[in-house]
Structure formats: structure tokens, C-alpha cells
Amino acid sequence: MNSKTQNKIAIGTLYGVAGLVVLILLALLGYILVSGLPQLSWHFLTAPAKAFLKGGGVGVQLYNSFYLLILAMLISFPIALGAAIYLYEYARDNWVTTTIRTAIEILSSLPSVVVGLFGFLFFVVKLRLGFSILSGAFALTFFNLPLLTRSIEDSLRTIDLSQREGGLALGLSRWETITRVILPAAVPSILTGVILSAGRVFGEAAALIYTAGQSAPALDFTDWNPFNISSPLNPMRPAETLAVHIWKINSEGIMPDAKAISSGSSAVLVLAILLFNFAARYLGKRLYKRLTSA
């Protein structure tokens, strides 16, 4: 076979492979949306779940997902920010830094179920926090920290070295330069990273089934006293999230309309992730424009 025919066959095959992959991926997305979107209604998104009957919603789970997400981000953001600042701005290139970087890489490659099991062992059992929002938020924090740290470090890297020199030459300390000059300039890029990581946290389930638990007690949305057991703000109550809900009803299957609810929930998850993606891009671009425009 001469090289020209070979070339044609190879390129044709690659077209085929790429086409097939697009087909698979689009079919996947299509399936989620086509089977899920018809399930969505105000009732579905707000009503509590029903264990043995048809017609339950995912209101509590949806709320729990957001509450856990916000708590986890509130805990993990400052830690990741501090760690990224040290790694990028202060750390010297020596064995300590290399070791720490390796540790962070290991954390990012740990299966989330292992992170969840550690959370179970440490927070649920050892610290006696029980299956609770708080245990779940810590587990999600651990899950989120390495990637968020790396993403913030990448954001810091996008700010030119000359900005740092500019601050130092004015007699500012490195810390003041970072917090007053570098971080404000890096906000658009950091925000994009934070929102993208939020998407990951929002859909995570394996780290949560043994930390935040698999039950969603009914919530009283008029009671905002965090010490009451049915208050949505109570951080010590067990809280099944949307992602855990999908897993749970499919593994137990005692719900007559489990499939419809899973379809609906999957669509909600995917739409939320889509939303996170678009928001990240849009806000990042907009903020950047605002920062640089006259």
C-alpha cells in the first residue's frame, strides 16, 4: 500500500473515531436531558422525598447539596488560598517544597471513597460528629483542597512578575503585595477556578455517603435557628444530597418511581454543572473586562 492510500485510510479512520466519540458523548448528554427534563417541575424541585410512594420531590436533597457546597467552599477556600500563596509566592525550590507538593498530589489522586471513609472514621466516629452536614463538609473539603490549591496557584502564575516587583519597590512587604496587588488582579481567574471546583463538589457522592449520611430528615423552612433539629441551618443533622439520593434510590429501589426521580435528579445535577461552567466563564471574562477597561 502506498503512503498516500495509507494516509487516506488513517485520516478516514480518525474521522470515524472522533465522530463515534461525539456520538457517544452527545447521546449521553441527550439521554440525561431527554429523560430528565420532563420530570422537572416546581413540585419536584421543592417537595420532600417519599420513601414508599410515588410523587416525591427532591427539595430537601437539593437544599442539602447547596448547603454542603457552600460550607465546604467556605472551609476549603481560605485553606487552599493560603496554601497556594505559600507554594507560589514564598516556597523555595527545595526538598521540603517537593515533598509537600507530592503530598498534595497524593491527596488529589486518592479515590473519593477513601476520603469519605477517612471522614467517617475521623469525624463521624472519633470526633462523634455523627452523620452530619459538618462531617460531610469536612470530607468535601479534603476532596476539594488539592485541586482548588492547584487552580489558585495557576491563577497566581498568570499575574506578571513585574506586578510583584512593583509592590516591593514601593516598600511593601511580599504579603501586602500579594494581598493588595496580586490577589485583586487574579480575582477573575481565581473565581473561575472556584466555580469549576464547586461543580465537582456539587456532584460528589462517594465521599458523602458515610459522612453526611444517606437520610434526609424533613426540614422546617420557617425555622432558621441552627440549634433546632429540623432547621435547615442545623449543621449537625444528617443530610443526603442530590447525588447521594440518586445512588441511594437506585441501590435500594423501594421507591416505585425511582427511575423517574433519578432521571430528574440527574438532569438537575447536569444542568447545575452546566450552569457552573457558564457562570465561571461569563463571570471570569466580565470581571476581567471590568478590571482592565477604562
Binding site: 509592590g167 516591593l168 519597590a169 514601593l170 516598600g171 512587604s173 496587588v181 478590571l291 482592565t292
Partner: protein, 274 residues
């Protein structure tokens, strides 16, 4: 007015011709003694002792890689984390190269402007005001006044006085560099170090910048690195010629340009270098 203390040396070493400024009206405010700079084990500067006269402009010239920028950046210890600097840097009688010197306090007296304009991603006003705020100037009138005088001194006020709240990143290169100068003088330094400040600018902006510097030397001692010999000739009183990490010649600018004592200097200033 100019007292020569010629220390020309010849011999096995390359010929050098160093004449430190001696002028009662313009006493020495900054000098280096036995300064050596190392990048790791590699020595970047191994002979570069100069004295700088107050309220004068001193130009550091030389081919690229000659160590002039490294030398300049050592003066306010911007090289601290990058290189090892040994020897003494005497600022008004105090060695500022000692480890117990507070570099932040020192850099407020020895300011710096860089090769590429580096305005912060803030408004024009905040670019100048924010370092002052961090050091406790909170009075709005005082800040307004400092911003205005700094911008006027940097000859930028007329162009931006109505746009003070606009982003500094929207300024043109020449304007941005003058903003950086305004920012540097707003903290009221004693000495201003400029590292090829005009290399990224067009000829018109360059000439405006030079006028600004001539104006500024009434209040500040200016040390400027430049690769542009005409620029050195136009604005500086003293010129030091660097080559391969050494100062080969230091004298008044007119001497350097009309009667250089070292062959390489002569080649360089006449454009026959290399």
C-alpha cells in the same frame, strides 16, 4: 568644581578609569564598597564600586549582560531572593546591605521604576494612593494632594486629571511609565533608581520622559540604567560604563563621551562596539 581623583589602573588587568564625583554642592548620598553579586556560584558583578552625587542624574551604560541592571537592582536589594550580594551599600552613612536593615523602610527611601511599565490593576488614583494608605495616610485631602503633585511631577496630570478613577491598565505605554514614576515618587523617596525606563517607549514618550527626569532631579537623586547613549548624554551628569561585570570607566558624562580613557568605552560610545 570637579576634583579628579583618578584611579586609572593598567597592568595585567584590563585598564580601568574611575573618577568618583567630588562636588561640594552635590555630596555623595549613596555608594557601594567592595560590592560583589553572585547568582548561585556564578559571579555577576565583581568590580563595581561607584559613588552617587545628590540631585544629579547618573547613567549606567554598557552592553547587555554587562551587569548594569544587576548592579542597579542590588542598590535597593531587589535581588535579595535571586542573588547573593556581598559588600557594603552606604546610604547617607548607613550600610543598607546589613541583614538587620528593614528592607521595606529602606525601599521607601530608595525607590525603583522598571523597564516595562507595570501599573497595578487598579484605578489611576489607587495606583498612587494605595501604598500611602497602607502606611497610614488616610486623610482624603492629603491623599488627593499627593496624587495630584505626584502626577504633576511626572507630567501626567493634565492628561488624566478627569480619569483618575479609570483603570490604569488602559493607559498608553508612555503614560503608564509616567504613572509608575508618579507612584514611585508619591512615597517621597530620596533616591530613584530607573532600569531602562524608556526602552519600551516610542521616541516622543521617551523625550517627554527625559524632560520629566531633568525636572525631578531637583528633588531626587537619580540613577538610570540605559542602553541609549544619546539619552545618557542628554540627561546625565555622570556616566559609568559597565562591561562583563566590571565598571571600566566612571566619570562626568562629558568626559566619557568626548574623551574616554578606556578603549572599550570609546568603542562603545562611538558605536563601534563588538
Amino acid at each position: 568644581m570637579f576634583v579628579s581623583n583618578d584611579v586609572s589602573t593598567t597592568g595585567t588587568m584590563q585598564k580601568r578609569h574611575i573618577v568618583q564625583p567630588r562636588d561640594a554642592q552635590h555630596p555623595i548620598v549613596l555608594s557601594t564598597e567592595e560590592l560583589h553579586v553572585f547568582y548561585g556560584k556564578k559571579e555577576a558583578i565583581y568590580e563595581g564600586d561607584l559613588q552617587f552625587a545628590r540631585n544629579q542624574i547618573t547613567a549606567l551604560i554598557g552592553p547587555s549582560g554587562s551587569g548594569k541592571s544587576t548592579y542597579l537592582r542590588s542598590l535597593n536589594r531587589m535581588n535579595d531572593r535571586i542573588a547573593t550580594v556581598t559588600g557594603r551599600i552606604m546610604y547617607r552613612g548607613v550600610d543598607i546591605n546589613q541583614s538587620d536593615i528593614d528592607v521595606y523602610e529602606m525601599r521607601r527611601r530608595v525607590g525603583m521604576v522598571f523597564q516595562r511599565p507595570n501599573p497595578f490593576a487598579k484605578s489611576i488614583y489607587d495606583n498612587i494612593a494605595f501604598a500611602l494608605r497602607l502606611r497610614g495616610t488616610t486623610d482624603q485631602h492629603e491623599l488627593d494632594e499627593i496624587v495630584e503633585t505626584s502626577l504633576k511631577q511626572a507630567a501626567l496630570w493634565n492628561q488624566v486629571k478627569d480619569d483618575l478613577n479609570k483603570s490604569a491598565l488602559a493607559l498608553s505605554g508612555g503614560q503608564a511609565q509616567r504613572l509608575c514614576i508618579a507612584r514611585a515618587i508619591a512615597v517621597k523617596p530620596d533616591i530613584l533608581l530607573l532600569d531602562e525606563p524608556a526602552s519600551a517607549l516610542d521616541p516622543v514618550s521617551t523625550s517627554q520622559l527625559e524632560d520629566t527626569l531633568l525636572e525631578l532631579k531637583k528633588q531626587y537623586t537619580i540613577i538610570i540604567v540605559t542602553h541609549n547613549m544619546q539619552q545618557a548624554g542628554r540627561i546625565s551628569e555622570y556616566t559609568a560604563f559597565f562591561n562583563q561585570g566590571r565598571v571600566l570607566e566612571y566619570d562626568t558624562t562629558s568626559h566619557i563621551f568626548t574623551n574616554p580613557q578606556v578603549q572599550i568605552t570609546s568603542d562603545y560610545v562611538s558605536g563601534n562596539f563588538g
